[in-house]
């Protein structure tokens, strides 16, 4: 992100948006979601090396199931449907569940975003939604790319 884009983002962002903190990590190019997985769907060495640390990942926000949630699914390409509403949807395997610091302010499913949070690996079933994830970002913030 260059300075001009950041300024533009600040100018356009709705009040409820939570911008990425200006830490050293946030200035690095965001990770591509697919680099967290190997082709056999196991986690990549990169993913293992970053487990438990704050990382930035680029992608798209799948339409959340309900309003005022602190959870969304990050996809590598735009998905027009939410993971719960559409059982027939063909979900790519390499997705990230994102648990946000604040209530999610929905971004259009086809607008690129960068999200930053603590990378967690391992299967987890959300007790509230029943959504099973293999990898997550917790305590996450996000912004339009």
């Amino acid at each position: 992100m260059n300075r001009r884009q950041l300024v533009a983002g600040l100018g356009l962002a709705p009040l409820a948006w939570y911008l990425l903190p200006e830490t050293a990590g946030a200035k690095e190019a965001p990770l591509k979601l697919r680099t967290l997985y190997n082709k056999d769907r196991s986690f990549s060495d990169l993913a293992h090396s970053l487990e438990g640390t704050r990382v930035s990942v680029g992608g798209y926000m799948a339409p959340p199931l309900k309003a005022d949630s602190q959870f969304f699914v990050l996809t590598k390409i735009p998905m027009a449907v939410c993971p719960f509403c559409e059982t027939e949807a063909e979900w790519p395997r390499d997705i990230l569940a994102v648990y946000t610091k604040r209530i999610v302010d929905v971004v259009a499913f086809n607008s690129k975003i960068v999200t930053r949070g603590v990378l967690e690996l391992g299967t987890f079933k959300d007790p509230e939604t029943g959504f099973v994830s293999r990898a997550r970002l917790s305590d996450a913030v996000y912004e339009r790319a």
């Binding site: 082709k39 390409i77 735009p78 086809n110 607008s111």
Partner: protein, 500 residues
Amino acid sequence: MKTIICTSLALALTGSVAFAQDTVPQASSQWYKDGEAAIQALLARQPNTNRAKNVILLIADGNGVGTNYATRLFDGQQKGMLGEENVLPYETPDFHSALVKTYNINAQTPDSAPTAGSMNTGVKQRFNLINLGEEAIHDDCSTVAGNELTVFSELMTEAGKSVGVVSTARLTHATPAAVYAKTANRNWEDAVPEGCTAQKDIATQLIDAMEAGTVDFAMGGGGRYFLPKDKEMGGLKGRREDNVDLVERATGLGAQFATDTAGFKSLKLDGSSPVLALFNSSHMEYEADRAEDDEPSLADMTKAAIEYLSKNEDGYYLEIEAGRVDHGNHAGNAARALRDGVAFVEAVAMADELTNDEDTLIIVTADHEHAIAFNGYCGRGSAILGLCYDVAQKGIKHSDKVLTADDGKPYTVIGYLNGTGSVLKKGEGENDYTGSRPELDQETATDLDYIQQALIPKSSETHSGEDVAVYAKGPWAHLVDGTIEQNVIFHVMNHAVNAQ
């Protein structure tokens, strides 16, 4: 007398051509010489009027003339060429070719079910249904009885031939289903509506066909529709609400079964027992995402199918589908569409290599095109997945200048008319779609996950009614010519196998 006049005319024409060759300044150009060589290759063509023992129909789903053009460039650029000069294996003079009108009876823009159905039955069909006559109505089970059409696989079985179907999509998906299924709705893959007794779901119809001997070899994705709900097996997870285990039924009939590359490699291809291979719960992976030890390639499956089916000395019918060119386009993700396009090209080359033109008719085509389009004016060798670079004043390759639109921003060679890549977006709580094109650089544009910019906002990019091409080689391939209706492809195959 007539013969003499004709001969004189021919001599006169030949003479004038020879005169022109001596005098035109471009005669020494490689373009000119290549053009002459192309004519010689066409003149050397001899119609093959043998009776076809084998027929292989290769379909790349959604690979119309435009998408095929993009695959040609991508394949060439991957091989170090500029791209435009690349010749795909089915674009040589060995193959005859035609344009194909793909519309359905009631649809200007076709879908994959009736298009594949038309190639397997010889008649056009109605939108979203498979292998039912023109009186049948989509989604209406009561219109199935009496409207079932005879499919090419049944005719070939009757002629003593074996039948194979291979797809990187689900085996119950439209294109492979058209080999064996008759259904009022292409989506009845694992169940039919309550009270519908005139037909079974598509997965059951495949196993019925295997039992009847009208399908001998079936390989692709779609395991979830063959296993009871939640049953897990070899990485597959079932979804059948009726809890029927179709895999168990198939193996009970003596079928061999595989779910991964290791299982694929251990299949006995001696033709003694049917083969059912389901490599994924849904579609097989995109070629770009495929792990070699998880799923075989389309070319590998093609090789196995031909090895298996050729054990029948009376011959075979084999339909092979590259099912995910279509899905890449639907996603507006040309990078994946074209990589699956190259996998299709490799499968065609494999089929050609393993068969003999004397007895095998190979047909290469697509079912429909997409809303894909190409920007200009790009210089030679502009990466087909990247930005449009300016034409160079000198030399051949494009200049270093990235072309920009009136908004001052670069644009990619490929664009889509609609889809998720739309530059018009709707903000939460807003009524209107608004927007402008984002900034773009070459690294972003050529990324595997890049979604090409589109105009009209849609959750999934659409097919288009634009023509596709058909290419053919082997017995009666020369019947593939001109601009034809899609159902004519069946009649070429049917003529070739019945020729006296």
